[in-house]
Symmetry: D2
Subunit: 486 residues, 4 copies
């Protein structure tokens, strides 16, 4: 899901996955399992989280700003979320629109029963659809694109909930992995290109849906399979059924899930993310190694690629940068004089190690380049004699419209500068990115299939597989904005 | 407004007005004036309050659980509610449904602009309408009857907002005094019988709408007139216009506003509420005085009637009961042994005064009788030799469906017992209520016009002027209840 | 107790009693009884409150900013205050020093056992003693004068706790009613002149100490007697004993307790406070009645005197001013334009009543005159044709140093202006105060005994019965101030 | 500092450093620098933190439960801590005694000026001294051993503050690194054996004191030198002076600082902690390598030793365990069924990596063994064919009394079982600890000097360099415990 009406300030120099989703049907501890699943998916969204359960009579909801452990660690909260089925959602979000109304799962009373929905992805025609719905009398509660789906479902002329949801989804364009809970069913749907992930698991009699396999692991559930692109699975008392209500498209899974978003112990397409990252590091080393003494990861996201790189070239892998994990969300550098310390709140140099050494710094990606610049300065001040930066993805030169929080294109370093300029700005002796074909090789492909790419790689190539309806139609936000304060 | 889905536990032995409303158009301090108006109307609802303003670009909203002074006393909150027009709402509410989503004003983005609404009253066909709306795809945000009005307005086929609102109100049955804010207009509407109050005021160039005149007084506004039953007034940049879109009904103003709800310094129909209460007390004394030494009010609501009573019979008016105004909402009597102290947390006997005296206790009404019983016991323990209770309203024997929080009929003392039984249960030597005609005489009428009563007095007579559609149609709440926790 | 180091801003135009104290020994619900007693004494201090109990093993403490009902209404809080004995304290306080460290009861571990103390009054040599104690190594936790007592007790060379406390109190000068709890005893002490009140009660086997009899009433305890000036009572498992460790002084009870501080249903010296106030009103009427139509109290404190006045002169007593009891502590008038509304947040005129009438306004006292001025303006705007103000105490022209929060003398209206000037400033047609002898007559005395006044009336006469050591010795606060933030 | 009166429950299977201290003299941003320094020292205590500053007139204090970033990230908080000098403290603490009164820095008004103190370490005769002080009339505010120092200073007969503090410290036995702030001076003191660390830095004209060099790095300060064992440095407007008021002892720095407590980028004795840990890993590999396919650290504390181990034996270093850094303090496993998931909330297996592999797990230490057991089970379930655990410290078989939070000896795995039993309980194929001499070799020594060990290693050897006065004197806590609730 994304927020239609508000700009996303960028509080960190990384792309951010917008959401994680989870659902369970058929376990008496449904809400507790969902809380654990969301905890395992915390890296996909740390701003807010919510769970909706159904106890055969009533839906229960608890949604909060903050992390899963802080909000669902209390036994009384879990006890309040009664029922044998539940869905949950993690949100990555922003300072622009802090309201609780934008925390998922969304819920609606549809007359024949309630409907709760959790969405990972982004719809590219949400504003267009919203304008139509509002003109026909629908009243929106939030500024989320995802709410369009719930209103399309509510106003569908179809009788059965599965048909109404299908009817709704046929009207949307975009990336979505949905987990839906009704009074009788748990439904999982993945958009026709399978851009965002969704996996199916099993724990005894219960079925589980989750964004990543690591959320199955934490509860001891067995991994069954991925939901296919364009597939809708419906779980109820009679078991699980699979539907294919949408036209077939070739799969275009988001390659950035392998590069950065997913947890290293997750598996997609039978590929371990950890191994994929190590292979990218190895490809990177093959393509562009520079003579050096040490290979140093930028922690934590650059670590697997750095290991792969170091093993490929036979150099020592060393912790030249110490990450401070105690940094809270709220630490504001207090004064101007101190603001320049910046990155040291999160990272510090292991100065005795790097002094006088030629180092290779390995990171997963460069977005705006601000963090890279600070880290290189820090390494130079710690005495590194040469600094070579190696990036385990191609240059990120295009915005994502499919559920990833990217800065405007004009803020992307690689959209503004060529390689030499980037190296100079960041302050490194040499800079190299893995090639797009190197990235595909690390995924086990021979190369990128230019006619029909095997992944969505629009952030690297600008090749957008799905129409950008709102953007290209000049759709402006026309909400009578309500600025809600509490 | 009332809550459709939840039972109202009764935390006090009084009937409770459900709401107060306020609106202002044309003053740069619109939100500050609204906060003051709501403060003056605090007696109409103390559970929650909210203000929505419009600054020609954006609507601003602040809604909170608690009282006006606690939520709108902060200059920053008022500063955030920018604009020259604003509406506000006080809510009396309940422990059953604590959610902020049920705090008014309600807001909706209607496509051509935003709409905020504050409602005092209750719709008797809200559930029926809600079921129809939901079946056509409307998604409700709250469990309040008032939300029906906003969805009917949203789905109206009319073009202009005034026509859409009129269209909506033609479908509802019930009592309502509404204050509505759009991006261009402030609208006030009173239901065709004028059951709930709504007055118009003026402060320099600005127009004011309020439940009672005391809310005009606090901001130094001039009282212009009451809104007529069935009238809709529309204030915009061009001034004020009056509309009569509904069929004419004879006026049936709630007589309990005079008995208890309204503030004594308010004026309805050119009648001072304080004087009305004193006259009721005088009528009561004429009808049923008992020989005694002192007249003692049950504070604070019985005080004006007790003064009228004492002046009529020429006995000393004395403060025989001291009220503790520091009692918070949250004082729970801590243990069983102490629970019997009950009423003393709020009231204590002025024992030196009453010892050995024959006293007349005057109260405005008896609902369940629990407080009366405790107070009589307290007076006896303080040494009163005789206790005569006089009630400045007829027996409350019927529930209200027009916006007043009443217990189920079976909980109403006067619905279960005759006068002698009530006297025995309460423990008084004698008990008397003012007669229904005595009450009308105090209002300046000769008597109640049985064919066409001059007021709504259904709580005394069971004579309901408006159809009880949901109740009589057996409408059950059919919400897919979402039990939201935070 | 008072705060040595901080100026007390004056947030209301009344003098304020600084504290209420309560103690119980010998009841299994000691903490619950204490909470109720403090609730009944809430008028003596609303800023903060605390309870310390002892369960034969451990002391338990709960101290909070805010009122009793808000802090001790929770059953879990009371359950945490285990034990059969407890003491409690209400504090009236100030914005200057909000810290919890200044909330009583104070507690210290004295080596042979713990000691908790609650103090009503003020020591006039506290700073002098504090400076000496600090120079010998005592470390103070608070800025309260009362803490001196606890350090003097801690450093006493006496062996037994009663002797150590006596030793301490022999060194202090000032007004104090103390309630002290040790691991074995409940101790009550009143200063040698008995300036502040302290009463003894009994509830079954338990002994109770309280500032006023109304705190006995609320728990159904029997009033035994007042603690005598200079008396120390000690309650333990063996019963109660009385000690007279201090030189004898004639009694000088604070007459302002009768005028304003105490609750009307309390009794001192066999005199009902309510009756005393009515008699002051009657004396006032005898001394200075003006022809008028109505007698109107300034609620709530002027009400008994107004009743006495009206009964004396045979005029109607009417509620011409409506008080809004919903005013919170936190309502800040939001903007300049609105600030002039001032008093209307608390009081509003009953305009229909006073229009065209000659009125007598009765209040208990005038401090700075700001509220009086606003109320008179309000009455004039409501149409009163003449406004006569009658004050049920002599002019308040001197500061109190014995436990009452008074503004600096230069802020006291009566210290700056004569009667005619005051009348003009307040805006009344006539103004009169009861004479000092009238006040003493209302107390049952023939007149004030000039050689040996029967009460402390320093605020009216400047006749201070106890030396003002710190003030006259030029003692400055010399604390190394710690400005604690949370 | 430690808490005298309460048991420390052990919420994690690690020893915990109790505190970090920091001080600055001579910079206009003293409080902001202190906040940053405390942030860099967050690993030394995460429960609470506080800063006291002095602005030449007044001391300012802000102390809070929680982490530095959450409490000192707000510019307004820093702005409130005015002055050019400040000290700060991080506390590791416990659920037993949550009170804010136990958060440092401690403050006292000493008559001639204020004194604030922050303490890392633990006094072994605190209870003995406290009992004496209380018997002479000192009143303690907290249950911290550190408060003894402040009372000894307050009651000293010496005139100058430096002499009073020296006088106080001559009476205490134990480990302490103190940072003290007066109205004129910043003082740093290290106990005569230098058990806890304290370093001196310089930032332009300002002097800095800190527990570790990493706190100098974060603010860009230059490392000057360590404070010597038994040295007192005094910084004031005239510069810095060094004093040696205590008898000389050979240095016995805590070796566990190198093993686990200190941050890897800190330097003690010219030794990089990171390098020391790598060398321990290498020694461990030399002493007890087992044939395996992969070396896997238990993150994060085992990582440097695992790198050293892997480099020594030439095996791949791989991330076989993924740590979830989002785990909050408050995540309580919600239900019994789920509780067995335990360690997975923090750690998860990288199953594709370890499946079928023989692995060496490297950790820094074993305390109770609970986490080790869970991790081994997790590795087995992930398919590891052999699990060999290697520990980069000798068996932890003795409690620490010098400022480290250790469980009772009976809870220490190594105090109860021999190596074979431990291996069986943990479930590994083989288990080995580095030898005590191996550990000393890694520190650059030939071996442990048995007659005069170069470090304090009492937790491994039971050889306590300082008398355990309270423990051996049978000193019981004799506080009249006040159980304070808020």
């Amino acid at each position: 899901m994304t927020d239609i009406a508000f700009q996303h300030p960028f509080d960190d120099d990384k792309l951010h996955e917008e959401c994680g989703v989870f659902g369970v049907f058929g376990n008496v501890e449904a809400a507790a399992l969902t809380a654990l699943g969301l905890h395992a998916l915390q890296h996909r969204g740390q701003e807010a989280c919510g769970i909706v359960s159904f106890d055969n009579t009533q839906f229960h909801s608890h949604r909060s700003i903050g992390r899963v452990g802080d909000n669902f660690g209390d036994e009384a909260v879990i006890a309040g979320l009664a029922g044998h089925c539940a869905i949950g959602h993690n949100r990555y979000s922003t300072s622009g629109e802090p309201a609780l109304r934008n925390v998922q799962p969304l819920f609606a009373d549809l007359g024949h029963g309630g409907l709760a929905i959790a969405h990972n992805g982004n719809l590219t025609n949400a504003q267009t659809l919203r304008n139509e719905l509002v003109s026909r009398g629908s009243i929106f509660q939030s500024t989320m694109d995802s709410e369009v789906i719930i209103h399309l479902t509510a106003t569908s002329r179809q009788a059965r909930i599965v048909d109404r949801l299908t009817d709704a989804l046929r009207q949307v364009v975009g990336a979505y992995s949905l987990v839906v809970l009704t009074s009788k069913k748990l439904i999982g749907v993945r958009d026709p290109m399978g851009i965002r992930p969704l996996v199916l698991g099993r724990l005894d009699e219960a079925y589980i849906l989750a964004s990543e396999t690591c959320a199955l692991e934490i509860i001891g559930a067995e991994f069954v399979r991925e939901i296919d692109p364009g597939e809708m699975v419906v779980v109820d008392e009679d078991g699980i059924t699979s539907h294919r209500p949408f036209p077939t498209h070739p799969r275009r899974f988001c390659i950035f899930e392998h590069v950065y978003f997913a947890r290293p112990d997750s598996i997609f397409d039978d590929r371990s993310v950890y191994e994929a990252r190590k292979r990218i590091g190895a490809e990177l080393a093959k393509e562009s190694h520079a003579p050096a003494d040490l290979v140093i990861p930028i922690p934590d996201s650059g670590t697997p690629a750095a290991l792969g790189y170091a093993q490929q070239v036979g150099l020592p892998f060393e912790l030249g940068i110490i990450r401070n994990h105690y940094i809270g969300r709220t630490f504001i550098e207090p004064t101007d004089q101190i603001r320049h310390l910046g990155v040291r709140l999160k990272h510090s140099a292991n100065a005795p190690l790097v002094k006088g050494k030629r180092i290779v710094l390995v990171d997963d990606s460069i977005v705006r380049g601000t963090t890279s610049t600070k880290i290189v300065t820090m390494m130079r001040e710690a005495g590194a004699s040469e600094v070579h930066m190696r990036i385990a993805s191609p240059p990120t030169a295009h915005s994502c419209y499919y559920g990833v929080d990217t800065p405007e294109r004009s803020k992307l370093l690689a959209a503004r500068y060529d390689l030499a300029e980037m190296a100079r700005l960041i302050g490194v002796d040499t800079l190299a990115f893995v090639s797009i074909d190197g990235l595909y090789r690390a995924m086990g492909e021979t190369s990128r299939n230019e006619g029909q790419p095997q992944y969505c790689d629009a952030c690297f190539t600008g090749d957008y597989p799905l129409a950008l309806v709102d953007r290209d139609g000049g759709q402006e936000t026309q909400l009578s904005l309500l600025n809600e304060r509490r």
